[in-house]
Subunit: 442 residues, 2 copies
């Protein structure tokens, strides 16, 4: 009943785009304004088109390191004063680094936006990096790596799998950095990365909330307008993958593993500007195979069927990237079921799916869920800011973002099967086994 | 009987080093002279300390491409005139590229050495790279790749395994280049590599044959002395490997495969200056496990035992490199024996070896063979030139080269077992299966 009601509601809802205005400053800064006047708050995000996949060879971790250093001082601001100021205004702020981008944001009362722009524009070009900050933050990051990666067999397996998934592309690099390279990162490395990539013509300013485009433009001209563009910004041409023609398998054995599992990643295409159909098909494929809830093919076939082999199974895909990424599968066997059995059961489901295609009701249900989440997404202005910022940071356009729901809606069963057939090819996959100890040889 | 006679002979032979003189020019060019006055011939080699592992990211193949372009013209020499001149003097010449070096050599009558130096010094700094040469040679190299790599499943498997073996280090790159990157290499890429790496202070001149050090020095001063050193030559710090902690397996299935086999490579340390003991132990280990002939453990256990499983099996290791390389194993099963069985039999032999250590007679036999090959090597002046040139190009010294036979001689059974225990660790290994078609799921 609930599902039926929801579907009727959704069909009635107009597929209107959110209120988005875009423009650019003369120095190349792209600006996106997302209006939402329901509450007197505003979020400012600045996205730089640089991430771990843009690091100099041997300097893994420098993009993320610099993200930390951006909270140190500038010519006019003492170290730590940035976040202290935001907090004193009742706001909060943070940042994150991915392979393709590094982003900074603050959420404050709408009348503090001018101050936020003053602060953010200041550190875009005037960062001071002190030797003491390097020493302190490097230690912090090494500790972060030890806690999040080195103490986690699962994280280590993913790191080793990623290095095997990408034969040539720098998506191979862990964002946090390889420990031995992190230990050697110095002030010069941070400055090199900062000077090369932090400039208005390599950034996107997203302002979302209780603002008008005119007000944003005036403030942006005041604060970001005077910043000189960099002439070092080039096309983002990273080393590309050669043909992947041989299945790879990785086993990580670690006595700390309490729950063995199988992880599989396939090299998978990303959303391309004006060409998002295959990525949309993969998005639906991930939902059909292993989306959340108890209705996915994995849930039904592996967890809740007549002969359950798994306590958990899922599939995931995100196509918002500059270059080819991954389509992932995970299956956690029930106690007593070995990894080979669980993996084979998962592969059987995939083979069946490619043979028979999606059930029409399943596909309709998934599309309804996606429509619903699109509608709910419009109520979350921070989520929208992130969506536009990320898309523009990886080379998509505002139009691509706004087309995406319709592209998802238009995907056919045949396109999903074809995407599965093309992408779920084990010659381009890495399969990881996480185990507490080696299984006896067969 | 023969073996006994040989051993007696070898024990009597003095372990004298060959006649080697070294010096350097003021511009940094290192010179090695190996005298051999038995015949009036001479070999000139110039080794550059740059190879595929020194290429700019995304420019795979450029080191080898440049090697080809070095046979085109200079300011004073027409394209092709270099080799034509060598040939007109009754000599021959060639070149080769590895991950760590690129080398050029000519073998001519001893009185033509001056001319050879004139030619070789000319192209060290005065190469002309024409757009037409780029187009022609790029097509030649792409064809070479297609013939040697893309048409060979075995070569493709090795390429994919190498990319999985090295998580971070550029030894991952194929020397010939990834096809999609080769296709994009242009004149600017070649010039960048040439200008950056081709200079007297990044080169080693080896002259071997019927010459005196004084004569070589005088000619070298005349021809190479005027060349300016480059200030762009830095330490060869490539991105290093993070810990390898998870076994990797790769299966390449190709209908063109007529003989399935198993290939295993382990990350293995190289010879270090003044510290060659572990590399020496690995050299002996490779001989004991899978050296040529019918007496290795693999030959006895896999090919000629009571229950033979393989038609061929071997082990190989070469430690002459700048950074950690690989220790390799290969086993080709008998028809009807599957890859898993052959691989397990190979691993059993390794496990037994680590448990029990080498048979004393086997070790003595291997050492005798090595002593013999060292003595024979001294009669091959071209081989010596290559040995010194390669060693110096990867950072070893003349002393390291001359110590190497004694270091090999001094290796103990315990050191070999310890090296096997440390290096033959499957967490740091890639195992490749080459098959004509997928085996049925078990």
């Amino acid at each position: 009943m609930l599902r039926c009601t929801l579907a009727l509601f959704l069909m009635a809802a107009p597929a209107l785009a959110e209120e988005v205005t875009t423009f650019a400053l003369d120095n190349g800064l792209e600006v996106v304004v997302i209006e939402d006047h329901r509450a007197p708050v505003v979020t400012q995000m600045v996205w730089y088109r640089t991430g771990a996949a843009d690091e100099a060879p041997g300097k893994s971790g420098i993009a993320h390191f610099l993200e930390h250093l951006m909270f140190k001082g500038t010519d006019t601001l003492a170290p730590g004063e940035f976040s202290a100021t935001v907090e004193a205004q009742g706001g909060d702020d943070n940042a994150f680094t991915s392979w393709d981008y590094t982003a900074y944001f603050q959420r404050v009362a709408a009348d503090r936006l001018d101050l936020m722009m003053q602060l953010e524009s200041d550190r875009m070009r005037n960062l001071n990096i002190l030797e003491d900050d390097i020493i302190t933050e490097r230690a912090v990051l090494i500790e972060e790596r030890k806690q999040r990666t080195d103490s986690s067999p699962a994280a280590l397996l993913q790191e080793q799998m990623r290095a095997a998934q990408f034969l040539n592309h720098p998506y191979r690099i862990p964002i946090i950095g390889w420990l031995h390279e992190m230990e050697a990162l110095d002030r010069e490395d941070a400055l090199d990365h900062y000077k090369r990539f932090y400039a208005p013509n390599n950034a996107i300013l997203v302002v979302a909330g209780d603002v008008t485009p005119d007000a944003v433009r005036a403030m942006a001209e005041t604060h970001y307008g005077p910043l000189a563009p960099s002439d070092a910004i080039t096309d983002r041409l990273r080393p590309a993958e050669p043909p992947q023609i041989a299945e790879r398998r990785i086993t990580l054995t670690d006595p700390r593993v309490s729950e063995p599992y199988v992880l599989r990643t396939y090299l998978a295409p990303e959303r391309d500007p004006g060409d998002q159909e295959q990525a949309a098909a993969l998005t639906l494929l991930a939902e059909l195979l292993g989306g959340s809830g108890q209705t996915s093919l994995f849930a039904q076939g592996l967890q809740f069927g007549a002969d359950p082999v798994a306590v958990y199974a899922s599939a995931y895909y995100s196509g918002t990237a500059v270059d080819d990424g991954t389509f992932g599968l995970v299956v956690v066997p029930m106690p007593g079921v070995d990894l080979a059995t669980a993996e084979a059961a998962m592969d059987d489901i995939i083979a069946d799916f490619i043979e028979t295609g999606p059930d029409a009701d399943d596909l309709a249900r998934i599309k309804t869920q996606i429509r619903a989440s699109e509608i709910y997404a419009r109520d979350n202005v921070d989520g929208l800011a992130r969506r536009y910022g990320e898309a523009l940071a990886v080379g998509l356009s505002v139009q691509d973002v706004q087309d995406w729901p319709a592209v998802l809606e238009a995907v056919t069963a045949e396109q999903i099967v074809e995407a599965a057939r093309q992408v779920l090819n084990r010659d381009r996959a890495v399969t990881g086994w996480l185990m507490p100890e080696a299984e006896a040889a067969e």
